[in-house]
Structure formats: structure tokens, C-alpha cells
Amino acid sequence: MKNTQTNSASPLQKKKNFTANLITIIAGIALIAFLEANKSAFSYQISILERSAVMAVVAVSMNLLTGFTGLFSLGQAGFMAIGAYTVAIFTIPVQERASVYYVDGIAPALANVHLPFWLALLVGGLLAAGIAALIGIPVLRLKSDYLAIATLGFSEIIRALISAPQFNKITNGSYGLKNIPAFPNLFVFFGIVILCIGLMILLINSSYGRVFKAIREDEVAAESMGINLFHYKELSFVISSFFTGVGGGLLAMFMRSIDSKTFQVTLTYEILLIVVLGGIGSVTGSVLGAFLITFGKEWLRFFDEPLVIAGVSIPLFRTGFRMVIFSIILMLVVLFHSRGLMGSNEFSWPGFVRWLKSFPARFTKKKKAVSDGGEKS
């Protein structure tokens, strides 16, 4: 499998990359095994990792659509909801269903259908993809601005349908679904996550991925090169929504209980901001962004607690402050570093080494500039 993408790597570099990747993979597996063995001790850290991983899957799928194909869609929350509810409905243990649907009871057709979680995830993804296919027909012909609003609208329509009392027997409306079984173990969970992201990476690097990028760059030119715009936009939309649906299903299994409030527009905004932070058009950026933001939100929690320094209570610190700080940080990224962390580049070992090396250089450059009185260094 030749990869003549950007700069072709020399054989020595390729060997180095391979070794570095191998070490990382082994380290990753070791870490997961360790965490699995010490589940209860590290449950807090594990849950943050799990949430990050789920967000990463959805962020990459959003990036596929927005960053690589140039389709600004804000419907992620709706498709996640479809995947989540599918998984929930089919995996809640049959004997517990009556108690979950305690108000209106469960629809008879669904009462006894129980699927293994991986099948439910697949069905959830396919359902999301199918609905995307339908939605795409009218919506993908629209200009980018309208596409954003239309997809947002569909997301809200889906949410309205989920919480509608008329559908209580299926979705349990505003009462939500609980007792969703968790993952058997961490390996399965991370395996699914890596599989999803891996497939998306393969797609992006394939001929079809190149077509998506062409559409993003110049639609008119792409069309003139024989690319049927609607067909490929629809393809990107459907595939992206499939993985968004799977991500939603993973979220349901992670959260153990969901309701329509889980899937408000703010969820889509959060994913969008992850994509922006990581770099639109960079898969590794989205993964990085997902982990940074999920960890960051936790780390920022101390802003929510009252802060007392030397007996003086600092007035600003109370509940909600961390989200304000978080929003401000994101605005700063959007305004001053809109390319995000990775721009549109992917992670590469040589690039990483260069980035590490640039730190001492940055400090010496500053010192020199000062001592030279601002002369060209």
C-alpha cells in the first residue's frame, strides 16, 4: 500500500515511523490492560477517557463532512440521538424493560427484541445513515449557510419526535431510557473506537477521500472533472452520519441512561468546537481536540468551586464559571488561531520531533531578539 501523499519518506524514516508506531501501539495496549485490571481504582480517569474516545469518533465523523468535504452541517446531535436510542431500545435487558417504560409501557413489537450490543451499534449507525440519506436529498442542494440551518432543524425535529408523548412506547419520551448495559470490557470499547476512526482514515486517504477534498476546494472544478456533486456529497453525508450514529450508540453505553435533553444543539456545538480546536481537516487534530477538551473541562472544574486564597474569597469562582472560561478559550482559538492545533496536517513522527525541538529554539530566539535590541536574528 503505497502512500505518495505529501512528502515521500525515505526508507530509513519509514523504518523509524514503523518502530515509533509499534511502540505507541504496545504502550496503548498495556495502558488499557492496566486500566482494565484496576477498573475500580481508576474509574474516574477511565470515564474521562471513555467520554473523550466517544467524542473523538463523532468529531472525526464531523470533520469528514465539514473539514474534508466542506459541508457545514450541524445535525450531529440528531444522528447521535438516533444511534443512542437504537442501542438503548435494543440492549436494555428484556426483563427490565417494563420498569424502564413505567409510565406508558413499551411497544409490544419491541418488548422482546434484544440484540447484542455490537449489532445494536451497527443497526443504530445504519438507521442514522438511512435517515441521512433521506434528509440529504433536499438538503444537500442548498448553499452552505442554509445547509447548516437545515441540518440543525432536522436535529431538532428528531429530538422533538423522540420526546413526543405520542412515541412514548418507543422512546419513553421525556422520561428517558436507563439501565443501558455497559461495555463488557475496555478492550472491546477502545477496539470499536479505533475501528471506526481507522475506517474513516482509510476512506479519507482513498480515491473517494480525494474526491471529497476536491469538492471542498472547488465545486465547479470538481464537477467539471466528472464528479457528480450530489452523489458524492450524499455519500459523505451518509457515511459521516453512520459513524455519528455509532458514536451516539457508544455514548449511550457509556452514560448508561439517556433522554432527549442529552441531545440538544449544545452537543453539536461542543463537537464543532472540538473540530475547530483540533484543526478542520485533520483527523489527528479532532482526536487530540476531543481528549483535550474533555480533559480540559474536567481540569477546569476547579473554577466552579469557591476559591479562597489566604482567607480571602475570590468572588468569581462559582458554578458555571468553568463553562465561561471554556467558551472564552474557544473564542480565542477561533479568533486568533483559527487553524486550530494541527491546521489541516496530520500527526507525523518527524513533525512531532520538530515541534519538540522548536521549544529551546523559541526561547533562545526571544533572548537573542532582546539582547540585540530587536535586530533581525
Binding site: 449557510d145 442554509y146 437545515a150 465547479v220 477561533v334 483559527s338
Partner: protein, 293 residues
């Protein structure tokens, strides 16, 4: 349904539509000039609601109302200066993301400052007084809203068509670069556009929240989106269109609630949007523009 009830519902619908229309104008103006969907517009409307709560706690209503309108206008113009102006040369997606970021920030700020619990909206004397006309009874604000809307829109259209700044706004919305080359002060024109939009949103918020009676951090989010839909339905960039869209939406929503489908009233708006985009994407009053290749 008796005719009185029907007319009563119509009145409610028109009143809601008027508030929507005022907000929709803000979206349509900004989109016309900058091709930007100002996602934060609905949240400016929400903040205006909160401003009134705090203003009325300190000042009497005849100071509060102008004060709130001024502060809302400043907020709108300020947001443009800080979050949109630096990105004027950036790709369109970036500005939209910035707008989403501002919306997110405003919502979180409101949650932080005012808590997520709904706060009661103060009563402005005279507005809630119930009047009777024929068989219809409603509060004064319900009668006032459509009248005020039409009056303000009329003034706005005069301004757009007969003043220098109005001509500048029209020029910028037609061709951004050429307008600059012709000596039009872009910054001032854009700020003025945002000012008008925010001012009208402020008025709209007074009329809307007096009826609703509570404000919470997300009270601008959905109405904001709906008002953008209203602007699209009427023809984005077109002021009478935005007004028409607002009234259509207000009436439609009221009808849905009256018929018992209140959970779908929000979805109804978006279904209308999709239908509109399918049949006539340029909206009811919009014009088709061909791109030069």
C-alpha cells in the same frame, strides 16, 4: 372552534409573529450585508430580557426601557467588533463558527451570572392590562405588538430607501468590495446594521417576555433559530420578507399549539423551512442570483 376563539388565537398568533418579525429583521439585515447567519442574535435577545430584569429592579420603567435598548444595541455592536470584524477576510465557515462560539459564550455567561433557573420578567405598567375589543380580550401588549412592529418596519424601510446610510447598507449588501471602493465607510455601515438589528431585537424581547413572563439562559436559542427560519422563508436579505416570515411562523405555531400538537410546534418551523428550501429556496420575496463562473 367558535369564531371568537379563532380570532383570539389569530390575535395571539399575530402578536407572537410581530415579536418574531422584529428579531427576524436582525438576521436578514446581517445576512444581507455580511452573508453571515448571526447565531448569536437570539442570545442577544435573551440577554436583553435579563437586562430588563435588572434594570427594572433599580429604575422605573421609563428609564429602564431606553436603558435596556441602548445596552442591547451596544452589546450587538460590540459582538460584531470583537468576534466578526477580525474574521471578515476569513472563509465563511470561520465566521459562522465564531457566531456559534459567541452564542455558546452568551448562554454559558447567562447560566453563570443568572443561574439556569428561570427568572421572572418584571411587569411594565400598562402592558399587562387586559383590554376588551368586541368579544376578544387580551393584554395590551398583545394588541401593541403587531402595531408597533408594522410602525417600526415602516420607519426602517424609509430609512433604508431614503437616507444616505440606508443607501450605504443597500450598496454593501449588493457588492461589498465595490462599495468600499466607492468610499462607503464599511465599518460604520456594518456597525449601524448590527445596531438596528439589536435595537429591534431589544424591542422584540420586551414584547415577547412580557407575554412569557420568565427568562432563562436558553430562551433565545430556539426562538432565535426560528426567527432565522422566518427570515429565510420570507427571502433572506429582504425586510418585508422577514416580517412576513415572522407573522407566518407566529400564526403557524399558535395554530399548532391550539390544535394540541405543542411538542411539534418547534418541529413545525423546521419542516416549513425544508419545504420552503425545496420549493422556492430564495424565499417568498427573494430574487434568484446566478453566480458567474
Amino acid at each position: 372552534m367558535s369564531s371568537t376563539t379563532f380570532l383570539q388565537q389569530c390575535l395571539t398568533g399575530i402578536s407572537l409573529g410581530g415579536a418574531y418579525a422584529l428579531i427576524a429583521i436582525g438576521y436578514t439585515l446581517v445576512y444581507g450585508i455580511l452573508r453571515l447567519i448571526n447565531f448569536a442574535h437570539g442570545d442577544i435577545f435573551m440577554m436583553a430580557g435579563y437586562f430588563m430584569i435588572f434594570a427594572m429592579a433599580v429604575f422605573p420603567w421609563w428609564i429602564s426601557i431606553p436603558l435596556v435598548l441602548i445596552i442591547t444595541t451596544i452589546l450587538g455592536v460590540g459582538i460584531e467588533r470583537v468576534a466578526y470584524k477580525p474574521l471578515r477576510t476569513a472563509p465563511r465557515m470561520s465566521v459562522m463558527i465564531s457566531a456559534i462560539g459567541v452564542s455558546y459564550l452568551l448562554q454559558n455567561l447567562a447560566t453563570y451570572l443568572f443561574t439556569a433557573l428561570p427568572k421572572g420578567y418584571p411587569e411594565i405598567p400598562g402592558l399587562k392590562k387586559v383590554y376588551q375589543i368586541g368579544g376578544l380580550s387580551a393584554s395590551f401588549v398583545t394588541f401593541l405588538t403587531p402595531v408597533l412592529t408594522v410602525a417600526l418596519v415602516f420607519i426602517l424601510i424609509q430609512l433604508i430607501n431614503h437616507t444616505k446610510i440606508g443607501m450605504a447598507m443597500r450598496a454593501v449588501s449588493k457588492d461589498y468590495e465595490t462599495a468600499q471602493l466607492m468610499g462607503i465607510k464599511i465599518d460604520r455601515t456594518i456597525s449601524f446594521t448590527f445596531a438596528i438589528g439589536s435595537l429591534l431585537a431589544g424591542v422584540g424581547s420586551i414584547l415577547y417576555f412580557t407575554d412569557r413572563m420568565t427568562v432563562f439562559p436558553f430562551s433565545g436559542s430556539l426562538p432565535g433559530l426560528k426567527c432565522f427560519v422566518a427570515a429565510v422563508i420570507g427571502g433572506i436579505g429582504n425586510i418585508p420578507g422577514a416580517v412576513a416570515g415572522g407573522f407566518i411562523l407566529g400564526l403557524g405555531e399558535t395554530a399548532m399549539v391550539a390544535m394540541g400538537y405543542s411538542t411539534f410546534s418547534d418541529a413545525f418551523t423546521f419542516i416549513l423551512l425544508i419545504i420552503m428550501l425545496l420549493i422556492k429556496p430564495t424565499g417568498l420575496f427573494g430574487e434568484k442570483v446566478t453566480d458567474k463562473v
